[in-house]
Symmetry: C2
Subunit: 456 residues, 2 copies
């Protein structure tokens, strides 16, 4: 390690390199139950050139590098299981350019979602992807993040026009262009988004952004059962209502929301909804949605039209995971994350609910149900090996249920280490193609090794 | 060749294999100026297994295979410059399944766009990508086709949930799943869409489809100059009006449209527009668009609300290329196809118009201007080498103009052979990554060789 540190010191200034135990511990974990593992050293690049230099050192000594944003990862992506170098992008946090007239923004990877939206607001613009956590744009691109607004605006991959990537050998590429569409070359934007640091490190990201909608209305709808709520969502999607958000929250999770966010929402299966558009069209969408709600025995349909109430509703929803963590001190969070075809959603959620009831571990169900994506959120005592084992088996049951119905083991949290064991089952022979791509772009397997795919 | 034919005959029935001169000639060209080249043999697979067998034979004898849909390609993709096997997918033209409740459809690659939409209409559904030509879904996926509706619904890549692909060694993979979103594995859907037959042959494609909109209104708007028309489009995009189609057609092209489609539209710079949505919202969008039009000196804004008039308008627009071909018998068509960031569009179109005026070759400008994508369509006398040279230089000027402004050499027609010489300039060091992927997935370079990228 001494020689590696010396090599790094020749390329970076001293304050950009640390082996401090506390800092290493901060880079040894994510927000969930995944086992921690310390990096040998944490480095703080300030430029693309710095990242290239780090990569050259890692390549020379064949030691692993693991990129790190703010550590809001949920499947262990940022945990350096083979130690080596953790690259912390917090010093690369500049918004490089807002091209207002092209609805484009170029940022460094360490820029956070909230930081970006704060700046964009000055121009009447917003960045659409909203996973809840205040993640970095680099992390969100690396994991193809999505969230509450995906049902209307799409996932992270849909927003990325271009990424500057430092490859395993330290060379630099651009994966796209500034054009809104292109049929030129292979789709490297798509390949690198969601590659979880296994194919390269992102140093600049150009994203499309949107004008803040003319009108926005949020609503809460409660139902006598969660199947009624899910059926309502399925009907909304079938009807083609261009809904901007539609989130399912079960009773257990409503309790957590009320506790943590000091709300007094009814403890019933609930949908949180949002509509964006011009006033007249939005009203027609809302009216039509109300009819669908009524058909599905909706008990209460409450609007939040003013900005403060609307923001409070979404903060409450977004803080749900933290509400659980806060309420179960000492326990660790595990989240299932399957997505299924929409016709399978009601049954899949029923299955998850039953399995969760059987489990006897505290938790609830929530989901971006407009995309067929839902989470079971459970709090586990890591000291109780039987409980950990039961929780893992529960997660696996949900995954297998989804895969058997044409779904995916991860709708949005990514593979990391948590979903690696299901890649063969989900992708079959296609996993071989993924391995070939990984091997040819990272022959020494130094880039976030053994995330997504195990390379022998 | 005898041994190849014998090997094919062992795997396929006799009527699936032909060396007939006329049939080979039909598989030697696309719809444009690109030089023709004959395949040695044309084969007609009926199943995935047949395609695997053909691939195994091609691999054994190291001879090239070139996939062929209906030959509406515009950059020479389907022309077998190294001869070998042309795989014609016309016998694989079944719609396998319409999953109405999931808004999904699975088709064989030889299904055409119009065939699919005819069937989907029975379910109140439609497939959104509309390049004008009645291309096959396989061809459209292979070239990442887009067109008039892309400004609202996205490109081909955005619609593809899963592809069954036969790889160079005859093995079969699936690139995706049925889930609306996924963060699992590398994004093979995106990589294979637009790979132009250079990474594998598609044998099944699963696409998302949409409910036919509640209301649709088409309109024509004429302007005193094309810059007024383009400025109006830029304003529509900036304002975030969710327009479904916005097409620019210049005077020269309006003449062709009137001649071929027996219309009497004014011969002025024109926008063809379409709006989709609920009645109230659509009216608000139309009203807002009218204001933008007025601000940009729009002379006439004519609605086509009834279905027949609306269809006639879009048929007229879609038949524009054929109108030119029909009017200039004996000449060949060349199309430029750049896309630029929207802020550069007005200047780029002005530049193209000036260069076209200087050229002295008949042609016009049209474009999917909401995406920053436009075409110069010119008719060239292939016997006149000076004219051919001038036309190529014109195409190059437009490409270089776009690339210098962060654009792409091809917005939607693909690379094929026509844009191959600009791949290095557009993608720089990223072209090396593309080459690595091509080499590892097709080590003997038998899959549509030397399209997109030259492999040494």
């Amino acid at each position: 390690m001494e020689t590696v540190l010396n090599a790094l010191k020749r390329k970076l200034s001293d304050e950009q390199i640390t082996t401090n135990q506390t800092v290493r511990e901060l880079h040894s974990r994510d927000e969930t139950y995944h086992q921690t593992s310390l990096p040998d050293v944490v480095v703080y690049p300030k430029s693309t050139k710095d990242v290239s230099h780090i990569m050259e050192v890692a390549q020379e000594f064949k030691i692993p590098i693991t990129p790190f944003g703010v550590g809001t990862s949920l499947e262990g992506h940022v945990i350096p299981y083979q130690h080596g170098i953790s690259i912390d992008f917090s010093l690369m946090n500049k918004i490089i350019e807002i091209k207002e007239s092209d609805l484009l923004v170029t940022v460094q990877p360490g820029v956070t979602r909230e930081q970006l939206n704060k700046e964009l607001k000055k121009y009447g613009l917003f960045f659409s992807v909203d996973p809840g956590a205040n993640a970095t744009i680099g992390g969100m691109a690396a994991t193809n993040a999505s969230g509450t607004t995906t049902v209307k605006y799409g996932v992270m991959r849909d927003q990325v026009r271009d990424i500057e990537v430092v490859l395993a050998d330290g060379s630099v590429i651009h994966t796209g262009s500034l054009a809104a569409k292109s049929a030129s070359g292979y789709h490297l934007n798509g390949l690198f988004v969601g590659s979880e640091g296994t194919l390269g490190c992102f140093t600049e990201i150009t994203l499309q952004v949107y004008g803040i909608p003319e009108h926005m209305v949020a609503a809460r709808a409660t139902f006598p059962s969660f199947t009624h709520a899910i059926d309502a969502v399925t009907s909304i999607i079938h009807a083609g209502v261009p809904i901007a958000r539609v989130e399912f929250v079960d009773e257990a999770s409503m309790i957590q929301i009320n506790k943590f966010s000091e709300t007094d929402y009814p403890v019933e299966p609930t949908l949180f909804l949002e509509f964006h558009g011009n006033e007249a069209g939005l009203q027609a969408d809302v009216d039509f949605t109300k009819e669908i709600m009524k058909d599905n025995k909706c008990q209460e349909f409450i609007f939040e039209t003013d900005t403060a109430a609307r923001n409070h509703l979404w903060h409450a929803r977004h803080n749900l995971a933290y509400a659980y963590v806060h309420d179960y001190v000492g326990k660790k969070m595990m989240l299932t994350d399957v997505a299924v075809p929409i016709s399978e959603l009601a049954n899949a959620v029923t299955f998850a609910r039953k399995e969760l009831d059987k489990l006897g571990i505290p938790g609830g169900l929530v989901g971006h149900v407009g995309d067929g994506n839902f989470h079971s959120l459970i709090m586990i005592d890591m000291a109780n090996t039987e409980e950990v084992q039961k929780a893992k088996e529960f997660n696996e049951k949900i995954v297998l249920y989804a895969l058997q119905r044409g779904g995916t083991c991860t709708g949005e949290h990514g593979v990391g280490v948590g979903k690696k064991q299901y890649q063969q089952l989900e992708h079959g022979t296609a996993l071989g193609v993924m391995k070939q791509i990984k091997k040819v772009l990272d022959p020494n397997n130094i880039l976030n090794p053994n995330k997504i795919i195990d390379i022998e």
